[in-house]
Amino acid sequence: MTSNVTELTAVDYPLSINRPDLLRTPTGKTLDDLTMAAVVSGDITSEDLRISPDTLALQGQLAAAAGRRQLAENFTRASEMTAIPDDEVLAMYNALRPNASTAAQLSELASRLEDTYSAGTCAALVREAAQVYAARNLLAEDLPVAPLAPEEA
């Protein structure tokens, strides 16, 4: 969708008011379709109230136009993540906590992001984390070791 739209600038914000024509739900509905009548009749589901990857890309353009490079990068990662189910997003987050994953597990996670979800920038973030965790001793041990004696305090 973004291909036939010129880069957005500050005057396009807020999109919900100035450029509703560019907005679609992941199910293809427009903002105008999201009426109370449609809600009551059951034509709208939670799926219709999610943000689409295209919309995140548009917001990324606005952020970049305002000089907010990192915010735009965040929207790029977010755009990739829209495809990942809720539970798995949380599981991936937990895998990134310190001492939670081995190098191999993080590498596997990066591949899954890349291969299953085409989430290249997310994968890059995970690979970068894996490198830092290795250097800072924040990877999980390969084999879980059961403590036998009371740890010495």
Partner: protein, 571 residues
């Protein structure tokens, strides 16, 4: 043996009557300690902080504040690789600190220029700059660098009994008084769904477009957000040293990933940090509180999160006890704003026994204006505040309104007539009653609605059947009830206007407009962010000025003698 007991005085030594009076002043119940810079128990001026430096090789930063890349901890790495603009940094760091400090204060330097220069600065350099600024200059800096033009405020709405009807009524009153965002949390965590529903319903009754959040552990908080029961999230903590960050079971990478997860669901989110947390946990690594907080701010920026709640927050007793501590707290708000982040600027935790000191701690944020002056003004009496009490509470509403009027500053609130307040409180409680009935949740009685209308604290409400409520809360989660179900139920039960407001908030998720820096929703459901309401302060006569209709609104107080007829008060 409570903290409010007066200090023991050595009997036998004669003191003057004046000393007796001074000893009894509330300020002497506060704790003050000497600095210990070697351990990081120092606000912002320490010989143990690093000197600024930066070196770029092959397109990446290889030295940061005196450390070469091989000696980087993970904060250094993340900041060097994500926060700092590599092209601009060497030149930026070479600029004399005094020049930069003056740019922050000088109205002729635009916000854009000073923000652009800031993109290339290292933590030590930023510290070096703000160390040159006194508290008035810091306030000048905040006035200019704050991202949104129009200041706003955020409230806490919680209940000591986790009573969802109380949360709804106080949220409604808070919203009608002007809070743009409402935050809740729980005593009994399992109550969360019902309290989050109360907050949302109350918010939309009080003023359509109010945004709500419920502070919980990450998974539940995200779940409530994804269901559309809450609208944003804030309590995503970050820390300034690697060891404390790891103690908090996170890293900059895990938090950056979480930030993107929220955005991918269309949910607004900001991080939380603040001076004092690292030394409080005993791992400041010998750095000053402000230096470590600047590292947090740059980490947040690097993660691409739109905003940050800072201003010491729950550790305020630590900077509050050392010399220059409250200046440092103002400086951390300045740096967050300068780094182009939305700043929810603290003033949200019980800070002092002294009313005078509570007020002075507030002014560096209230006078220049911030994106959210309080990141939690207690919209319930402090004893009901489940965030352990705030610097401001419901008892202070009138004082706040008078200070706004005295100083002609906009702190985001206004005086509201009693009849209006009673009406929204009643409506919020009735909407909850109807919604609970519609959703088969435990009954809300007419007596409870009546109590909510006139109550002050949780003591004024009949007790709920806690077991039934917890069953209800569980069923909300198990049945997979979403914001959309709540909208439907409100519409069906005759609260169409509330349903409509709620639906409009949910629709924002599709547009993503609230993901932009400092975004809030106006009463007309117009997203107001640092794009369409960018701060344009450029000296006297520019930027946000309290005038016109809004100023007329703020002139109103509970009691103002009429000029026309001095025997009466202005209504």
């Amino acid at each position: 043996m409570t903290a409010v007991a007066p200090r023991p005085t050595d009997s036998g030594v004669r003191t003057s009557k004046r000393t007796e009076i001074l000893e009894a002043r509330p300020v002497n119940l506060d704790g003050f300690v000497e600095e210990w810079p070697e351990k990081g128990l120092v606000a912002m001026e320490s010989d143990f902080d690093p000197q600024p430096s930066v070196r770029v090789e092959g397109g990446r930063i290889v030295e940061l504040d005196g450390r070469t890349r091989d000696r980087f901890d993970f904060m250094d790495t993340f900041i060097a690789d994500h926060a700092i603009d590599v092209e601009a940094c060497e030149e930026a760091v070479a600029t004399p600190s005094i020049e930069i400090a003056r740019m922050l204060v000088d109205p002729r330097t635009s916000r854009a220029d000073v923000v652009a220069l800031g993109r290339g600065l290292t933590p030590a350099k930023i510290l070096d700059v703000v160390k040159l600024m006194n508290v008035v200059e810091i306030m000048m800096g905040i006035q200019k660098t704050r991202s949104r033009r129009t200041p706003a405020n955020q409230a806490h709405s919680t209940s000591a009994k986790d009573n969802p009807i109380q949360v709804a009524a106080d949220a409604a009153e808070g919203a009608v008084r002007g809070f743009a965002e409402l935050e809740s949390t729980l005593g009994v965590v399992r109550y969360a769904p019902l309290v989050a529903i109360g907050l949302q319903v109350g918010g939309q009754v009080g003023r359509g477009g109010t945004l709500t959040q419920c502070a919980l552990e990450e998974a539940t908080e995200l779940d409530l957000g994804m269901r559309g029961i809450t609208a944003y999230a804030e309590t995503i903590s970050i820390y300034g040293t690697e060891s404390v960050f790891v103690d908090g079971d996170d890293t900059p990478w895990s938090k950056a990933f979480l930030a993107s997860a929220y955005a991918s669901r269309g949910i607004k989110m900001r991080f939380t940090s603040g001076t004092g947390s690292e030394v409080q946990m005993g791992n400041a690594e010998g750095r000053s509180m402000l230096y470590l907080e600047i590292r947090c701010i740059l980490m947040a920026k690097g993660a691409g999160v739109q905003g940050l709640q800072n201003g010491s927050i729950s550790c305020i007793g630590v900077p509050g006890a050392v010399p220059g501590g409250i200046r440092a707290v103002a400086a951390e708000n300045l740096v967050a704003s300068w780094m182009d982040l939305e700043c929810a600027s603290g003033n949200d935790q019980s800070f002092s026994h002294s009313p005078m000191r509570r007020t002075s701690r507030l002014l560096p944020q209230m006078l220049p204006g911030t994106d959210f002056v309080c990141s939690g003004y207690s919209a319930v009496p402090n004893k009901d505040n489940m965030f352990a009490g705030s610097n401001l509470e419901t008892d202070d509403y009138d004082d706040w309104n008078v200070i706004q009027r005295d100083m002609q500053v906009d702190g985001g609130l206004r005086h509201v007539r009693e009849d209006v307040i009673l009406q929204v409180r009643n409506k919020a409680a009735r909407a909850m009653q109807a919604l609970f009935a519609e959703l088969d949740l435990p009954v809300i009685t007419d007596e409870e609605v009546e109590a909510a209308t006139y109550a002050n604290s949780s003591d004024d409400y009949p007790d709920r059947d806690v077991l039934a409520d917890l069953d209800g809360a569980r069923s909300v989660m198990e049945r997979g009830i979403t914001g959309l179900d709540l909208v439907k139920a409100l519409e069906r039960s005759g609260f169409g206007e509330v349903a409509e407001n709620y639906l409009k908030v949910l629709r924002q998720r599709v547009s993503g407009d609230l993901l932009q820096t400092a975004a809030v929703l106006t009463g007309d459901f117009v997203p107001l962010a640092a794009i369409n309401d960018a701060n344009d302060y450029a000296g006297p006569g520019t930027g946000y000025r309290l005038s016109g209709e809004r100023w007329e609104e703020l002139k109103k107080l509970r009691h103002v003698t009429s000029a026309e007829n001095p025997e009466e008060e202005v209504v």
